[in-house]
């Protein structure tokens, strides 16, 4: 699986790889909010965790169709499916590479962007923790949607419709962790982490079934 992760990282950072697009989209979404909402610092502080989480979710969504589609189109997926690596292993590698190129940079970028949104001092750590533990779920759920829609040309709309409802629990819990006035962020953070762990443990097998059906 390691060569596959390394190759996906290499591809993401090459021209047209989509790494910069994801991060730029996240920056744009978050930076435009203060312009739209106005310089109301209290309001910004209140909505900051939600905005950062929505930004993370949408940026993640933007790059989902690349997870399997490009490999499908050039025959790599077919060749990988006949290689010694099981399809579930391929799904783990692909989702992991997706997280490293989207979830991880978004988590890191959220800290300076929080400053832009007047995120309260005590929320930074919680925001960082909730994104770090929650974005793996976004990548793995997204990989499942991507595996289902891999054979469909321009299946982006269908992919979004499939994936967005599944993102809602992570979004609600994740944004709540970092909100001011949350009494029990540790418990909520544990729930976010549990969603990610559940996704990592189960979704690769679902991906394998979906990929197998689509390769037929």
């Amino acid at each position: 699986m390691k060569p596959l992760i390394l190759r996906d990282l290499k591809l993401a950072f090459r021209s047209g790889g989509g790494f910069a697009l994801t991060l730029a989209f996240f920056l744009i979404v978050v930076m435009f909010v203060p312009f739209g909402v106005g310089a109301n610092l209290d309001l910004l502080a209140r909505i900051a965790p939600g905005i950062l989480w929505i930004g993370a979710l949408l940026s993640c969504l933007l790059s989902l169709d690349r997870i399997f589609q490009l490999d499908w189109e050039d025959g790599t997926l077919e060749a990988l499916a006949t290689s010694p690596i099981p399809l579930s292993g391929i799904a783990i590698a692909k989702a992991t590479a997706h997280w490293i190129t989207t979830g991880l940079p978004i988590t890191l970028a959220a800290i300076p962007l929080g400053y832009l949104l007047n995120l309260p001092q005590q929320s930074y750590l919680w925001l960082f923790a909730s994104l770090a533990l929650g974005t793996p779920a976004l990548s793995f759920i997204g990989a499942f949607g991507a595996a289902i829609t891999v054979g469909i040309k321009r299946g982006g709309l269908l992919l979004s419709l499939l994936v967005l409802p599944l993102y809602i629990p992570t979004l609600m819990l994740g944004a709540q962790v970092a909100s001011t006035g949350t009494q029990n962020p540790i418990q909520l953070l544990a729930l976010v982490a549990s969603i990610s762990l559940l996704c990592i443990a189960t979704i690769p097998f679902a991906c394998a079934i979906a990929l197998r059906a689509n390769l037929r």
Binding site: R7, S15, T76, E78, A79, T82, L215
Partner: protein
């Protein structure tokens, strides 16, 4: 025996096109699949590779119409990736064998169609698979490069491997066995519409 298949039924788009395919392959065998376009050569190879149907192959490598190469990676990077997947060591002899050494630092997207095909087929040499399943390996190759591929297939078979190849050209492989897949063509009555028959 490297591969033994019997009673294999192949469907394409839910339509039965080959029925009761029986095929056994021993070490050193080279089977050439023949049949007109649409007869089901590609479908049969995909079944034998385990990409379709329930047949689970053992130790086979498949090369389809597409080469599975990334245009933004160099030739060497592309091949190193597959070497990593198959746990293969030094790729230099493979690059040399397929005359890809002078191209190794070029982006795969800048290669000609024939060079891409060569790079795609280089993947087969990295696998330690016994049975090579190849779908039209010599498409878009000139005579000299075709010979390189055919030589690689001969070497593989001579070393105790086997190959099942669909092709329209005459491959000069001694002891190659021709399998005419129209022999297995499903009769159209095998595929009656259940709605029209009232049997659903």
């Amino acid at each position: 025996m490297l591969m033994n298949v019997s009673n294999l039924n192949c469907l394409r788009a839910d339509k039965l096109i080959l029925s009761d395919v029986a095929l056994s392959v021993v070490a050193g065998d080279c089977v050439i699949l023949r049949g007109p376009n649409g007869a089901g050569k590609t479908t049969l190879l995909r079944y034998l590779a385990g990409l379709a149907g329930d047949y689970t192959p053992e130790n086979t490598a498949f090369s389809g119409h597409l080469d599975g190469i990334k245009s933004t990676l160099t030739v060497r990077e592309n091949l190193s990736f597959w070497a990593g997947i198959y746990g293969f060591g030094n790729i230099d002899p493979i690059l040399e064998q397929l005359s890809l050494t002078p191209l190794q630092s070029r982006a795969a997207g800048d290669l000609s169609a024939g060079q891409k095909r060569r790079l795609g087929l280089a993947r087969m040499l990295l696998t330690d698979a016994d049975v090579w399943l190849m779908d039209e390996p010599t498409v878009s190759l000139d005579a000299a490069t075709s010979d390189v591929i055919i030589d690689a297939i001969k070497t593989h078979c001579a070393a105790g491997g086997a190959a099942i190849i669909s092709t329209h050209i005459d491959m000069d492989i001694p002891n190659a066995r021709i399998l005419n897949i129209t022999d297995f063509a499903a009769k159209q009555s095998d595929h009656s519409d259940p709605f029209l028959m009232g049997d659903f």
